[in-house]
């Protein structure tokens, strides 16, 4: 999802789209994961029909979207950005006002986060609730290439969280506890690993993130907390999550911090639109419900956005002005 970037394709598409498409008022980046793209379509519909702006959806991955927003001022809105994964360039732009982060502390999706998960039935059967519980039972999660060891699936190549996982692996001294890293290779591999293991009723332990359809459909539990809690920002940002080639020397065990999601816009947008995107937020459990619906119906992001607007007016009417709500409702009829 967030680190998985088809950068080149996205850059090409964004350039292509921005040159050939007729200039719309407001361009919205469709992030390439389910909630990210659904939110883009919800935004587009509400801004178009509620606030009367011409909108256009452009494809975007994190790495391609933010530089394009900084240098070209387009797209204008990116709905569900994971603040923790923003690079220096983006943070500088946020500081000097080239970009504006409009979401308050609770985030776009409340309770979103990454970390270590296990299947629910394994958790209940063996009464595993914390990372330490799981680490004591490598026998429940055999590594496919060495069944005497426990396997922990980490992030694929090229995701910055891979290093985070490896540092935590070391911090929890997992090698001594009988664990071995299981590399998924790509998001395809990661998903298929979770899906296959849970479908076959096997134990699986490792990295995923929420809210996602996987966590809902497969019934994954997590992100697991640790008995030591979150061991401080310094330990996390300067050591566990630091992006150096070598492992951090004195990494302390820690649970994963919750991730903040936020909406980022370019300056100079209609204030009414900014007001709307800054209050728009979904609870984690509701997001999972939506994702399960998408999955059940194998719906596209656009169909899901329409389903959401049609079925749950009590949620979105709170985000917009009464006048805009009326207009959106009228257009849905």
């Amino acid at each position: 999802m967030k680190y998985y970037v088809k950068t080149i394709i996205s850059v090409m598409l964004i350039t292509l789209m921005s040159t050939i498409a007729k200039a719309a008022d407001i361009k919205i980046a469709e992030l390439n994961w389910q909630t990210g793209s659904m939110i883009a379509y919800v935004d587009s519909y509400i801004i178009k029909h509620g606030y009367g702006h011409d909108t256009e959806i452009v494809p975007g991955g994190i790495d391609a979207t933010i530089p394009s927003m900084i240098t070209k001022g387009s797209p204008n809105i990116v709905g569900e950005m994971w603040i923790s994964s923003l690079g220096d360039e983006a943070l500088t732009a946020l500081n000097d006002g080239t970009l504006i982060s409009v979401t308050d502390d609770k985030g776009v999706i409340i309770g979103a986060g990454e970390g270590w998960f296990i299947p629910k039935d394994v958790a209940e059967k063996h009464n595993l609730t914390t990372i330490e519980d799981v680490l004591a039972r490598p026998d429940l999660f055999p590594h496919p290439e060495d069944s005497s060891k426990g396997g922990i699936v980490i992030c694929p190549e090229g995701w910055s969280c891979k290093q985070t996982n490896l540092n935590l692996f070391k911090a929890f001294d997992m090698e001594a506890k009988g664990w071995k890293v299981l590399e998924p290779g790509s998001q395809t591999g990661l998903n298929a690993h979770w899906e296959g293991s849970v479908t076959k009723g096997k134990g699986a332990f490792g990295y995923y993130w929420t809210p996602t359809v996987f966590v809902g459909r497969l019934g994954l539990v997590g992100p697991l907390s640790s008995e030591v809690g979150f061991a401080g920002d310094d330990n996390w940002t300067k050591c566990i999550a630091s992006q150096t080639d070598e492992l951090c020397a004195n990494a302390q065990p820690s649970q994963w911090p919750s991730s903040k999601t936020g909406t980022i816009v370019t300056p100079g947008l209609d204030q009414a639109v900014v007001d709307y995107v800054s209050v728009r937020s979904l609870s984690g459990s509701f997001t999972t419900t939506m994702l399960l619906w998408m999955d059940d119906n194998q719906a596209t992001a656009e169909q899901s956005a329409l389903h959401f607007l049609n079925t749950y007016p009590e949620i979105w009417t709170k985000w917009v002005t009464p006048k805009a709500a009326k207009k959106v409702k009228a257009s849905l009829k």
Partner: protein, 289 residues
């Protein structure tokens, strides 16, 4: 005007029924298949361990010896030594060994399965008509389509990687075996029959011997395709040069991409030249221009 497609519910339920049928299949048969392939899995793991554990100088001298036996071409051996020393110097040695291990084992699997199928195709026109479109399908279907089911069946790692590689790489060896056998001179076969040789002996002594170079050409193609699939296989957790390429794509590391990509190219060229040079030596009487 839109094409009159089935309504969305019908299509969705059709797609979902495929999903659930496959899930059912994975639950019931996943472990059985994993068990079935466990000898190959064992071979993969231990061959890789062996290659990585072998000290580099022993690997280089043994392989040089092998190449000399096969080709007697000192230029090739020089090229091999230079490129592998460069690979070692840029820190790609272990990954190259991992890639070599999976490519060698995949190629063996392709040969063991592919040559008998090729023989069957050459001998039986019905089999020929049935298998040919299947080979086309295997070479053109986007590998992502079967990557996910394969991982669901076998889990992450080497076995699904081997299957993904083999599905893509096996067609040349089958095709070339078929063509090679069909091209054997009919008069020779008749003579052999007149001398009283049984069909199996004719196959072994005459047909396979004469088709040898064509079949080796097929194996060569299979190895090349296996190498090109290494990057795709790394998407499901096969470590090696492919995962370095993935890493460089994910992070935009151009240098790493070039180094790991060129390492794959070096492997491919050396294997290709070795087989060609061996072929030339094997039948000097042929007029190679």
């Amino acid at each position: 005007m839109n094409f009159p497609s089935l309504d969305r519910e019908t299509i969705t339920s059709f797609k979902k029924s495929i999903d659930s049928t496959f899930r059912e299949f994975a639950i019931n048969w996943g472990d059985w298949f994993t068990e079935l392939l466990s000898p190959i899995h064992w071979l993969l793991i231990h061959f890789e361990k062996l290659l990585i554990a072998t000290p580099w100088y022993i690997f280089l001298s043994l392989t040089s010896l092998l190449l000399w036996k096969a080709t007697q071409n000192w230029k090739l051996i020089l090229g091999f030594l230079i490129s592998f020393i460069l690979i070692g110097l840029v820190g790609m040695w272990d990954d190259t060994m991992r890639t070599l291990a999976i490519v060698v084992v995949s190629t063996l699997v392709c040969i063991v399965i592919g040559i008998p199928i090729g023989i069957l195709m050459a001998k039986n026109n019905l089999a020929h008509r049935i298998i040919l479109p299947i080979l086309d399908l295997m070479q053109t279907i986007p590998s992502f389509v079967y990557l996910i089911p394969v991982v669901m069946l076998f889990g992450l790692g080497k076995i699904p990687g081997l299957i993904a590689i083999s599905v893509f790489a096996i067609p040349p060896v089958i095709r070339f075996t078929n063509i090679g056998l069909r091209e054997v001179n009919k008069d020779l076969k008749e003579t052999a029959q007149a001398l009283g040789l049984r069909p199996l002996l004719i196959l072994r002594l005459i047909e396979l011997s004469l088709a040898r170079n064509v079949i080796l050409g097929g194996i060569n193609q299979t190895i090349m395709m296996a190498l090109s699939m290494v990057v795709i296989a790394s998407m499901i957790g096969v470590r090696g040069l492919g995962s370095q390429v993935m890493n460089s794509i994910g992070n935009g590391y151009l240098g790493l991409g070039v180094i790991s990509g060129l390492s794959i190219v070096a492997l491919a060229i050396i294997i290709d030249r070795a087989i060609q040079s061996h072929n030339k030596r094997y039948d000097k009487w042929r007029d190679y221009k």
